[in-house]
Every structure is written in structure tokens, then in C-alpha cells.
């Protein structure tokens, strides 16, 4: 009897432990399967959507190549732009798709070209446009062919892998796709031959910017593989860190003194005068103030260069003023400067013609001539209309090319 009890107890314990281990294992297996399914869905969802959009993009490119009727051509270009953008978003959704998204860069180029052709109202018979469309069609076809087997985890590409093995397999397959897209060549700028790296002139120039002595000044030549090199002066002013950058030709690129702010004592309008005087002191004259803001005792002013009295939009620089002492503590330049004289505007449209291109819901409050960049980065004469949108009463700025009347930008003013 006792022996039987012992055997029964042992058997029950074994069954209980075994059952628990089985239940735990089953639970873990279920979790692993759920995780694998989630990864699977993440990859396949994004990839399949990308393949669908690439297919639609290919069809739109083909249609644009086929149709010579301007209206149809424009409609197909709009489709090209739409599907190229959608495919970019799909590619960006791929989990861990690798940091080097050359595929997206290629899709963006197609999207950008289509937009420019629509803006410039290019003829569908233009030979270079037709060649670009042909190249884009070939690229998209190749991408679609390469991505499709990955998206469906079939064929020799992934060897039928799934679950935990899927992620590295997809990553490797995508790397092969990325490698098949040629990396655009970026021409690196070389520093001008006249550049000098003697420290003292740079420190003197930096002290002129700061308006005082820089302690423990250090000058470094920072080599930027893409934009040429620049000169960085660091140090401290009254124990506070300062950082100033110059282009190799000596133009001030940025300046920032980092210090705590005291109680605001200087008025915004006075700070604007201080900023204007400071700009002249560092050699930037002929600028107009176009925007101002103040946050936590720091005022920031936007200035735009004037070309024969016309402000150049987008070529702005910012001056930062501490409102406790009225000290200029920052300057940033976007490094974009307009031409020295106004670009010619052949047969400029009248004010009435330009206004006719604005919708009835836009109530114009202000209108002025400006210089602006067109989609190809060329400076053109333009007209900026500031006003409010009827439905929301929100302020907007519309910039139209003065010669063609094409929209250059619509910006919500803040």
C-alpha cells in the first residue's frame, strides 16, 4: 500500500512538472509565433504596398510617355508624382530597411522631376523629358521586379524563409536592391587656394563678431566632405562658451554665445535696432528685417538681403539678441545668397493678371516685389501676396513668378 502510494505520488509529480513545462513551452512557442507573425506582417505589408505603388507608378510613367496631348500628359504626371510619393512612404515603413535608402532617393528624383515638369508646363514632345521618362520607367520596372519576390517571400531570393529568419534575409535581399541603384555622385567642394589657416586673424575676426575678448580661443579647420571646409573658432567670453564659424573666404556663417538669461529689460524694438547695428558692424549691410519673435527673454530677428531694393526671400539670416542686456548672442546664415543684380524678368505679368491666379477665398492684405528661387534653384523676380484664407482667417503668403505667373510657394505665416 505504501509502495503504491509512493509510485502514485511520484507519477503525479512527474505529470504535474511535465504538464507545467509543456504549458510554459507552448505559451512561449505561441509568443514566438506571434512575434514572427508580427515581423512578417511588418515586412510584407510595407513591401507589398510598395510593389503595388511601383506597379501603378510604372503604368503612370508609361501613360505619360504615350500621350502627347498636354492635358492628358499633365494628368499622368500628377499620377507619377502621387505614386512615387506613396512608394517612398511604403519603403520608409519597412522595419530596419537599412539606413542607406537609395531606392527612396531614386523615387524622390522621379517625383521631383514630374512636379517640375508640371510647374514649368513642359511639352510632352520635349526630347529630354521623354528620355527621362524612359529611364524612370526602366528604373521602376527593375525595382518592382526585384522587390516582388521579396514581398512574397518566394523564389530563390529568400529561400522560403519566414519568422525569425525572415528579418535578416529580407535585410540582405534589400541590401542587394539598394546596391543595384546607382548612388548619385556628389561633387565635393575644395577649399579656395587663397585660404589661410593662421590662427590670429581668425581670432581677431571672431572677437569683432563677439565685441570683446575671447579667452582660450581655439581655431580649427573643419573639413566637410560635402560642402568644403570651414573655420571654427571656439573659446569663452566671461566664462561662457562661444562658437563661431567662418567660411574659408572669411564670411561669418554662425555665431552663438551660450549663457543664462537674466530678467528682460530691453524692448523688442530696441533689440531690433541693436541687431541691425550689429549686422552692419560685422559687414552685412543692405539687409531688411522681415520677421521677429521673442521667447523666454531671447529675441530672434530675420533679415533678408536687398538686391536693388528688392528683398530676396529664402536668403535670410537670423540675429539672436538677449533681452536682458541687449547683447547679440547668435547669428545663423543659411549660406544662400542672391545674385548682386536683379535677374531679368521678360514680359512681366501685370498685377491684375497675377491676382487673377489667386483663389477667391484668399484675401490679399499686402503685395510686394521680391526675389525668389524657382523649383530649379534659379533666382527669378516674383511677387509675394500676403493675406488671409477666408474660411480660417489664417495668414498665408503666396509667391508667384512675375514672368510666368507660376506658383513658387504657398507658406502659412506664423
Amino acid at each position: 500500500m505504501r509502495k503504491w502510494t509512493w509510485w502514485a505520488g511520484t507519477a503525479a509529480a512527474v505529470i504535474a512538472v511535465g504538464g507545467a513545462a509543456f504549458a510554459w513551452g507552448d505559451h512561449e512557442r505561441g509568443r514566438a509565433q506571434a512575434m514572427a507573425a508580427m515581423v512578417d506582417a511588418g515586412y510584407s505589408g510595407a513591401l507589398r504596398a510598395a510593389v503595388a505603388d511601383l506597379d501603378a507608378l510604372r503604368a503612370a510613367l508609361a501613360s505619360a510617355s504615350i500621350m502627347a496631348d498636354p492635358e492628358s500628359f499633365r494628368r499622368h504626371l500628377a499620377d507619377v508624382e502621387k505614386y512615387a510619393y506613396a512608394a517612398q512612404l511604403d519603403m520608409a515603413r519597412i522595419p530596419d530597411g537599412g539606413p542607406d535608402h537609395r531606392v527612396n532617393q531614386e523615387l524622390h528624383r522621379i517625383d521631383f522631376d514630374a512636379e517640375n515638369w508640371m510647374t514649368a508646363d513642359i511639352s510632352p514632345r520635349n526630347a529630354s523629358v521623354q528620355e527621362e521618362l524612359r529611364q524612370a520607367y526602366l528604373t521602376v520596372t527593375r525595382l518592382e521586379t526585384q522587390l516582388e519576390p521579396i514581398a512574397w517571400h518566394a523564389g530563390p531570393v529568400l529561400d522560403g524563409r519566414s519568422g525569425t529568419e525572415l528579418a535578416p534575409a529580407v535585410r540582405n535581399a534589400l541590401a542587394r536592391v539598394q546596391a543595384s541603384v546607382a548612388e548619385p555622385r556628389v561633387a565635393s567642394k575644395r577649399p579656395p587656394a587663397s585660404a589661410s589657416m593662421e590662427a590670429t586673424p581668425w581670432i581677431r575676426r571672431a572677437e569683432q563678431v563677439v565685441g570683446g575678448t575671447i579667452d582660450k580661443a581655439k581655431v580649427s579647420d573643419v573639413r566637410d566632405p560635402r560642402n568644403g571646409s570651414y573655420v571654427l573658432v571656439t573659446g569663452s567670453v566671461k566664462g561662457r562658451p562661444v562658437r563661431i564659424e567662418f567660411s574659408r573666404t572669411g564670411t561669418l556663417a554662425s555665431y552663438r554665445l551660450t549663457r543664462p538669461m537674466g530678467k528682460s529689460r530691453v524692448d523688442l524694438a530696441d533689440a531690433a535696432d541693436i541687431a541691425s547695428r550689429w549686422l552692419q558692424r560685422v559687414g552685412l549691410s543692405n539687409m531688411v528685417r522681415t520677421y521677429a519673435s521673442q521667447v523666454d527673454g531671447i529675441a530672434r530677428f530675420t533679415y533678408q538681403p536687398l538686391v536693388q531694393g528688392v528683398p530676396a526671400l529664402g536668403a535670410n539670416c537670423k540675429v539672436v539678441v538677449a533681452l536682458d542686456e541687449g547683447q547679440v548672442i547668435g547669428f545663423y546664415d543659411r549660406g544662400k545668397w542672391p545674385p548682386k543684380s536683379l535677374p531679368p524678368a521678360q514680359h512681366p505679368l501685370s498685377e491684375r493678371d497675377l491676382r487673377a491666379r489667386l483663389g477667391p477665398q484668399f484675401h490679399v492684405q499686402d503685395e510686394r516685389r521680391v526675389l525668389a528661387e524657382d523649383p530649379n534653384g534659379k533666382w527669378v523676380q516674383a511677387v509675394a501676396f500676403d493675406g488671409t484664407l477666408g474660411t480660417s482667417d489664417e495668414p498665408y503668403r503666396v509667391v508667384l513668378d512675375a514672368s510666368t505667373g507660376h506658383e513658387l510657394s504657398v507658406e502659412r505665416l506664423t
Binding site: R102, L107, V222, K263, L323, P395
Partner: protein, 267 residues
């Protein structure tokens, strides 16, 4: 009887005189501006008064919120044009005198109810307004207004990333992280919106470890403002990493642009 009538009449007269005097003291007919000039971006009671007077004349139709924004600017220009003043959009003493003369009956009680404005003209953190007619401002919880075509939500998300990724870094290091996000926004290799960039799988460690949910401080917000205003200490970097914590060969293989604080910024 007649003595009682005279006493009552005298009392009534005194009462009426006292009430009139009190009203006159309580609501002065003209509230003078202070001596300071007002420009786009100015805030405070002077701007309240400016908006109130322009509103009375029919030039200003926005909210009286004490913030000199675009609608105030356009109203000032129209007023200056119609009253033969130089059209600058800035309120100097000449414009103020003309405005006071044109609105002799204005008093602050005429204005529509508006949210309380800061008492100081400079530096005060101002409340949010729904009209969009304001400079970019920060409230206690974060950005309340957009900037440079970025919404307040975008700016707040950037501040969260900056704080989560670089709160121990020097100020320019924090600006650099914000600048990397903006550089990605303008680069065709990356998604086209701030949330898509931030939440791109594996893009930022703070998203993975949850530090993105920490409340950013003022430095992180100022760093975002500076980056949006055009300060890019990285000169166009798209990636960064902490060399002490990264063994990723791909990261190390990228061309280094600059090292700020503990981060190496790469192209």
C-alpha cells in the same frame, strides 16, 4: 417740508456727483501708450491698446491678445496709409499720437474679452491664441505655435527627441540633434514628415527605450527653435552616434563631419 425737500435734493446731487466722479476715475477716456515703439513680435499691454484702438477704427479684426502678429501688422500699415503716415508697419511715437487723436473715446473696457496678457513687454511667456496671429511662443507644456511650416506638434516631438537623446550634451549638441532631424526632412532618402522620421524603425534610440516620453526642458525647446531658425552646427549631418556606445560598422564607416559633446555627426 421744504427744508426736507432741499436736503433730499442736495443729497441726490451729491450722490450723482460722486457717482460721476467715480466713473471718471474708474474708466479714463484715454489710456496713453508707453514710450516704447512696437514692431512685429512685440507683446504686452501696449499691443492690447494698439489692437483695441485699431479695432475701434475698423482696421483690426483679429483677437485682442496683446501679441503683435500679421493681422496687427497689416492693420497698422493700412492705418498709416490712410492717415498719411510713412507706411512701415511699425508703431513709433508719430503713429501712436495719430492713433490716440483718432480714437479719443477709446477705453480698454470697449475691447472684446481676451485672454490675460503678460504685464511685461519683453520676454514674458504668453498664452496661446487660436487665431494664428502671433509670434512663436512656448507655454508650460510645450510649443503652442508653429514655425517655418512646422506645426506645434512637430516642434514638440522634436523637443522630446532632443531631450531624450541629448539632455546631457552642451547646448550646441542639442541643437545639432534637432538639426539632424531637419536635415532628414529635407533629404530625399528619408520620410517627409517629422513624426515619420522620428518613428522610422531604429532611427532614434530614445524611441526604442521610451525616453522620448520624458517631458523636455526649456533648453531642449530653445535648441529646437535655434535649429528651425537655421543653426546647423553639423553642417548637414544625417546621422550621429555615441562612439563609446556604438560598434555598428556602418556608422563608423560614414564620413565624419564634426564631433559635438559625446556625439559624432556623419553625412
Amino acid at each position: 417740508m421744504s427744508r426736507a425737500k432741499r436736503a433730499i435734493s442736495a443729497l441726490a446731487l451729491m450722490l450723482a456727483a460722486w457717482m460721476a466722479a467715480e466713473k471718471a476715475i474708474a474708466t479714463p477716456a484715454v489710456q496713453a501708450f508707453t514710450a516704447r515703439n512696437l514692431i512685429y513680435g512685440s507683446t504686452g499691454y501696449d499691443v492690447d491698446e494698439l489692437q483695441g484702438r485699431l479695432h475701434l477704427l475698423g482696421y483690426y479684426w483679429g483677437r485682442i491678445d496683446g501679441i503683435f502678429g500679421w493681422k496687427t501688422y497689416w492693420a497698422v500699415r493700412t492705418f498709416q496709409y490712410n492717415f498719411g503716415l510713412p507706411v512701415t508697419g511699425e508703431v513709433d511715437m508719430r503713429t501712436k499720437i495719430m492713433l490716440v487723436k483718432a480714437t479719443p473715446n477709446w477705453n480698454y473696457k470697449m475691447d472684446v474679452p481676451s485672454p490675460p496678457s503678460g504685464s511685461s513687454s519683453t520676454g514674458a511667456v504668453q498664452p496661446a491664441t487660436a487665431s494664428g496671429d502671433s509670434a512663436t511662443l512656448i507655454s508650460g507644456d510645450g510649443f503652442t505655435h508653429g514655425m517655418d511650416n512646422l506645426s506645434p506638434s512637430d516642434l514638440n516631438l522634436m523637443a522630446h527627441v532632443v531631450y531624450g537623446e541629448a539632455r546631457g550634451e552642451p547646448f550646441e549638441g542639442q541643437v545639432a540633434v534637432a538639426a539632424v532631424i531637419l536635415n532628414r526632412l529635407h533629404d530625399p532618402k528619408f520620410p517627409k514628415s517629422i513624426p515619420a522620421i522620428v518613428y522610422q524603425p531604429g532611427a532614434f534610440d530614445c524611441v526604442n527605450d521610451g525616453q522620448i516620453n520624458l517631458q523636455p526642458n526649456r533648453d531642449a525647446m530653445q535648441a529646437v527653435i535655434d535649429a528651425v531658425n537655421g543653426w546647423d552646427p553639423t553642417h548637414g549631418a544625417l546621422y550621429y552616434f555615441n562612439p563609446a556606445k556604438t560598434s555598428n560598422a556602418w556608422m563608423w564607416a560614414q564620413p565624419e563631419l564634426v564631433m559635438i559633446g559625446h556625439h559624432i555627426f556623419t553625412a
